[in-house]
Point group: D3
Chain length 169, copies 6
């Protein structure tokens, strides 16, 4: 698969897939043998629209900070509800959630969500969920002006803490 630069090098096993028991049934992975440790994850999402909508969101028809503020609150609240939304996620006591929204191009905004916990498993899904729902909220705020707004890419940028080691995109 030479065209896929993320495939495993020859001779290496692909990492295993969790969330399935030996009979293929979905389950929440048992994290009880792990110790709680400090963990952090950062995810990003981009939303592309017209320059007019970007301007309106940032400074124009929408009062300064307001659309941004609604999306930020939505993202923080969604991060806290991740285990309710993603069926096999563990409920986590979040120590911190931050949402940052900035202009990425004349027709695009970049959303970053940083989540931290002290727990037996990581906060990647919380960071991704926070960034994503913030993006969907911006879509909702702007959709009367541009239904063609596009969300993505949504990616995990970085994670630290946990036995599987750090990850940097």
């Amino acid at each position: 698969m030479p065209s896929d630069n993320r495939s495993n090098p020859p001779g290496e096993q692909p990492p295993t897939l969790s969330h399935v028991d030996e009979r293929g049934n979905a389950r929440m992975v048992d994290v009880s043998p792990k110790l709680p440790t400090a963990r952090e994850a950062i995810a990003s999402a981009r939303i592309t629209t017209t320059p007019q909508v970007v301007s309106a969101i940032l400074a124009g028809d929408l009062p300064k900070g307001d659309a941004i503020a609604v999306a930020r609150v939505a993202g923080i609240q969604a991060a806290k509800r991740t285990a309710d939304l993603i069926p096999l996620c563990h409920p986590l006591p979040l120590d911190c959630v931050e949402i940052d929204i900035a202009q990425a191009a004349d027709n695009a905004l970049a959303i970053t969500c940083r989540a931290k916990t002290t727990a037996r498993t990581g906060v990647e899904m919380e960071a991704l969920t926070g960034a994503t729902i913030a993006a969907l909220t911006l879509y909702d705020m702007g959709k009367s002006a541009d239904k063609a707004m596009t969300i993505g890419p949504i990616t995990l940028e970085r994670k630290t803490g946990g036995k599987s080691g750090d990850y940097q995109r």
Copy 2:
């Protein structure tokens, strides 16, 4: 802005932005003057990963349909919770939610969510939320094998019903 094929033609006003009152404060738009009508929306989301993970999701290490099934359930449940997640969405009595997940490339899956309602406002956000949470669930199922999985583009494909008319991407 010649490179942006979605900008408004010269001389045309951009559509107005809802969700803000005259002082710029966020609010749920008043839909009480509208009559309930049949409405439908279809949204799509793509998730790109390694061919191995796509294979595992579709047929391999994961039993047929299972990862898909978890994501489908998550998407349906999230669509029902849209008004809880997106601050300015109206709660809607959903008549139907369907999630379809299919291979889009050797390293990508395409998720489609169709939502229907009989209500005073549209179901675009429900369709988008359903497709998006299904994608995040696939990320969660596969992240032990590939943390670089990328979600997007997420787009509204089609909407019908409502005073603002039909929309086809």
Copy 3:
């Protein structure tokens, strides 16, 4: 299958299973072609424990009505959350939920939940969910005295309204 008095008579087709599309994928059934009509369902649940715990619940160590009151509130609230709990249920605007809890034997209590709606689909699941969560709440209230408490049978007693006709157990 002569020993199963609920099997279909010879020559009759069993009723079809909904919730699955032509490819076997779970989905919320499309109820948009139906008209909203008045519907009602009654479900029951029994909980069996020791006579001491029944007495304590009804009149003894627990002040009159209190354990009963907590279970009743829990059942009503759970009925309202049915669509959040049962993945393929439609969200319904409930017109009424009532929970009744009465002694059924010296060591058993009978819980009845009646739910009403004006909607495109029935309220069986709401009635069943209300009765069941009330029973689980009684278990929780009494489990320090009797961990062997047993819940069941839980059954649909009656439903009226809707195209599929009335049902009486």
Copy 4:
């Protein structure tokens, strides 16, 4: 009450009922003096229907694993929401939830839910809630074919950890 083999032997005090303060008011028991310890609980629920519906669920009209998969996801998600449903339950950081669904007779399925936590109080209610909502979901999937489906008995099978000692049904 010689016919009730769970009544207390003569001369023994029945265990006390928690969840009520000295004036009989419902309250969440104060668990702050306890230390967090590893705890596990297993609960079971049975659902009885026609052999046709059991066959359809397991292998027939419903594609392999699908109805089962929806019920499993519903059970896992419900276990995570136990403190939201059962008024006097403490919110717990669940380490693991597993739902197993197997044929128990030609006309019955057995559902088992195992829950684990590291907390100041037990996970009995989480295991019971997970098993119960999975059973209600199977009812919802099959009710178009058999409204007489019966849920129960629902019981706590086993609990380990915590000051009150282990319990085996």
Copy 5:
């Protein structure tokens, strides 16, 4: 009771209390005989703190609109969740929710919540819940500066629609 200007005039019956059945058990009142009509309610809440905190909220250390924006979003979302919070409330399809926050004195802010529905029962509780949670959110935003912040009075200002007639405080 001459000092209570809200007591009933002599010879008049006090209005009856709903939410209780003939045996005194809590229940959701049956609204199915009623027709859906347009209804509106306005509630208000006041929060009193130091002039410094009021200034910081309105214009000072907190960027313009931000604390206000968080409280407004929280109030709107809480209004949508009223039936989840107030046990005997009916779930309502809200047509509109607006939160207004303004200075009421040098040391006080006034919060107003307006809610509208087309339903079989009123939206008083939605308006009250929206105003109240917005006030609690302002407390949360400012509590590091002033733990003595006081919320109240919270009152229903006005309701229109429904058989019981309009109400103006």
Copy 6:
């Protein structure tokens, strides 16, 4: 500001406002550097109505303890959902929630909510939310008899534990 006995003495800095980052954006404060400690908070809320409604709630038309019981359950459940309602609150593993409701005058009831946790941040908002939702529930129970019921003052009475020290109103 001589009339405000809560203003800061001359020469003293007012305490800083948390929940805002250096650019004024709302965020969940990062509590990960703190250690979990035992914390407790007590909040109170008052509801004023007619003596008739107070009597009905306490002993009269409403069966003994029932309206009180519904409000108590609502308050406990709301305390557990605080992080879902107040956008910048951290999710906390509550160790205990108690709601007390007592007569405060012939036309008023006093609600007290005590919450305890072992966590990195305090439980003030949980105690305030529990007391407040219990008060709103009493309003809902009594509003058919008195729409002029008034809620407030709602105050934090006491908090212990945590780096910022104890607080007594």
